[in-house]
């Protein structure tokens, strides 16, 4: 049972490269926190600092009531699952699971019971007498999870544990890990999780809350729904959601209505956007998710006109790639609403859903269309 608190955490390498820029993050007891970001955003470094595998240059990490900055990894009450499993190659699965408890000099019967229990939970009992090289990727990952589980740590750390698995297995392991977390929580065991991934689908489906990182800074910490609907900046908007949000450079002018000029066309928005706008004019990025654009009916005004460059049929929906001037945008249309006859001579007119439009300050990247109550 433990809460993880990170205060002004910094990491400067010996070559004076600053990897982590004083981040602060609270992970509540039993919370599943996902750190997500593109490669090089220092999410793994942050996790390794929590684990004690990287030294901390500045700030403070607290697990429960203890400041763990200078504690050895083994004394922090954490356990970690690595991307490439990191099972001890010369030990059988049983010994791999038991290694941590053996080092703690726990009595043999206790170790055996714990091993059996964990093996049962993860359905790896038939594998106990195998060597790691005799396991498939999914099995090895389950053993790695088991090795973390058996120690009953305060905080579980996962470092991209699913990226070496194929798509199908990844999906099933995702569910398995989430189920396991729920189960631990239900049983009143410690279940605080910090999970690092670069895959936004994993982040969205698994996390209670998600911490989006970029270049060693936190961009936004929020639950998946908030992150999707109310991104605080253009980076989060572009990173979360698939296909990516369309971000189009334009010029904003507020005079009566909200006008955004982009690619030689003018879009006008009404009261909904106007009421939540925190900026009166200037260079902006207009952000519209592909799902929030629809094909305009013939007589509709205020639509973006573009040229369809290609079409991908995905089954339940259709992806249209549209060039508006020199901006490439993606539109997702549900298959049943897609009628090829709407597109004449490859020309198409698109209407953004006004309530779902985001406007970002192009200079700072900040979302200027989030009012307090929207």
């Amino acid at each position: 049972m433990a809460r993880l608190q990170i205060r002004n955490l910094e990491k400067v390498y010996s070559n004076s490269f600053k990897a982590v820029h004083g981040i602060s993050l609270d992970v509540d007891d039993g919370e599943f926190m996902v750190l997500v970001g593109p490669s090089g955003c220092a999410k793994s470094t942050t996790l390794r600092m929590i684990a004690g595998l990287e030294t901390i240059t500045g700030g403070e990490i607290r697990i429960g009531d203890r400041i763990v900055n200078n504690l050895a990894p083994g004394q922090r009450g954490v356990s970690m699952v690595f991307q490439n499993y990191a099972l001890y190659p010369h030990m059988k699965v049983r010994s791999n699971l038991a290694f941590g408890l053996k080092l703690k000099r726990r009595p043999k019967p206790e170790i055996e019971d714990a091993t059996e229990a964990v093996a049962n939970t993860l359905e790896i009992d038939p594998l106990l007498d195998r060597l790691p090289k005799q396991l498939s990727g999914g099995q090895a990952q389950r053993v790695a999870v088991g090795r973390a589980l058996i120690k009953k740590p305060d905080v579980f750390l996962f470092d991209e544990p699913l990226s070496n698995l194929d798509a199908k297995l990844r999906a099933s392991m995702r569910v398995r890990i989430t189920d396991l977390h729920k189960r631990l929580k239900r049983e009143g065991q410690s279940s605080t999780v910090v999970y690092v991934t670069h895959d936004q689908t994993e982040a969205m489906t698994m996390g209670d809350r998600i911490c989006v990182m970029k270049d060693g800074c936190i961009m936004q910490v929020a639950d998946p729904v908030t992150l999707y609907n109310r991104p605080e900046n253009a980076f989060v908007a572009g990173f979360i959601g698939s296909p990516e949000m369309n971000l189009m450079e334009g010029a904003l002018a507020v005079n009566g209505g909200v006008n955004i000029g982009l690619a030689g066309q003018m879009l006008t928005f009404g009261e909904d956007v106007g009421s939540r706008l925190g900026m009166r004019g200037g260079d902006v990025l207009l952000g519209v998710r592909p799902q929030h654009l629809r094909i305009a009916t013939n007589d509709e005004e205020n639509a973006l006109e573009g040229h369809v460059s290609h079409i991908e049929f995905m089954g339940h929906e259709v992806y249209l790639y549209v060039d508006v001037g020199d901006i490439r945008i993606v539109v997702v249309v549900p298959s049943e609403q897609y009628h090829p006859e709407d597109i004449r001579d490859d020309r198409i007119r698109l209407v953004p859903r006004e309530t779902a439009v985001h406007i970002f300050d192009r200079e700072t990247g900040r979302n200027v269309s989030l009012s307090a109550n929207a």
């Binding site: 010996s14 684990a51 004690g52 595998l53 050895a72 990894p73 083994g74 004394q75 954490v78 356990s79 970690m80 690595f82 991307q83 490439n84 990191a86 099972l87 001890y88 190659p89 010369h90 290694f99 941590g100 080092l103 703690k104 090795r147 120690k151």
Partner: protein, 302 residues
């Protein structure tokens, strides 16, 4: 027309079948030639060894009379006489001495080199670069240069005529080559397992013993084998530091049998040489798999 086509087709098939058979024959001939050549060269290389074994069963007079390697009257005299030696000791003493030198030296080498290599490969510490450069520099330094200073040092320590000068340098990772080999091997192993062990609560020493050493096993076996063979063959070291005959290892004892008699009993020398080869060969064949694995991984991936 149709017949013509069939005929043409058959001719074409025949031609291709013929070409195929011809190709196969050429391949067989070329293989035969290659194997014959390799076998010939292999035999040439092995001949001295075969001759050595053959000659050890000959009488002393036959060795120079008969150039072939099959003895005309096989005899064990060489072995029996040779084993007795011309000293108060039998060859068993010399074998035992060799063993007494090799065992601590090999164990010391394995432990010290693994520890030093682990330090260099996995930790950052002040002066690491300079120390590593020094290590590599000692690799390049000719052994002869250090002989005299070492001798003086061991003399001052009062270690002359004991096995200590032969053991101690190795027990402090004095063999830079082995340290370097292990470092290269370790660099090719990902650190994740060690990190996992640290998260599991292992300290540095426990990580080394439980995780690193088992993963280093193939390279460590190569190190032990190299050390074993080099020590077995080492002549200069024992020659410099050992003066009492009762402490001589095999390498010196063989020389001894040349020195002490005026007319060399070649068959005895050869017989004892054969016996001296046996331990090294046995160990090599037993551990061949690891030996090759260790060298290739250490060398190629480095």
């Amino acid at each position: 027309m149709a017949e013509e086509i069939t005929v043409r087709a058959t001719t074409a098939e025949l031609a291709s079948a013929r070409a195929l058979a011809e190709g196969r024959r050429m391949h067989a001939i070329s293989s035969a030639v290659r194997y014959a050549l390799l076998a010939g060269v292999g035999f040439l290389m092995l001949y001295p060894l075969i001759w050595l074994i053959g000659a050890s069963f000959k009488t002393n007079s036959e060795i120079f009379a008969n150039p072939g390697f099959i003895p005309s009257e096989p005899t064990l005299t060489g072995y029996i006489e040779g084993w007795r030696t011309s000293t108060p000791y039998t060859f068993a003493t010399f074998f035992w001495n060799t063993f007494l030198i090799i065992l601590p030296k090999t164990i010391g080498t394995a432990i010290s080199c693994a520890a030093v290599a682990y330090g260099f490969a996995r930790f950052e510490f002040p002066g690491k670069r300079i120390l590593f450069a020094t290590l590599i520099a000692t690799l390049l330094l000719p052994n002869v240069v250090t002989r005299i200073p070492q001798y003086l040092l061991f003399r001052d320590l009062g270690w002359l005529d004991s096995f200590l000068p032969l053991w101690v340098p190795s027990a402090f990772a004095g063999d830079a080559f082995f340290v370097f080999m292990l470092i290269q091997f370790l660099r090719a192993i990902p650190r994740d397992m060690e990190e996992a062990a640290r998260v599991d609560g292992a300290n540095t020493l426990q990580t080394l013993i439980y995780i690193v050493v088992p993963m280093l096993a193939p390279a460590l076996i190569s190190v032990c084998l190299f050390q074993f063979m080099w020590t077995m063959n080492d002549f200069l070291g024992p020659l410099i530091y050992l003066s009492s005959v009762d402490k001589y290892p095999i390498s010196l004892a063989l020389k001894l049998s040349i020195d002490t008699t005026e007319a060399f009993q070649w068959n005895r020398i050869l017989a004892m040489s054969v016996l001296a080869l046996v331990p090294a060969l046995t160990v090599f064949f037993l551990a061949q798999k690891y030996f090759i694995e260790g060298i290739s991984t250490g060398g190629v991936k480095g």
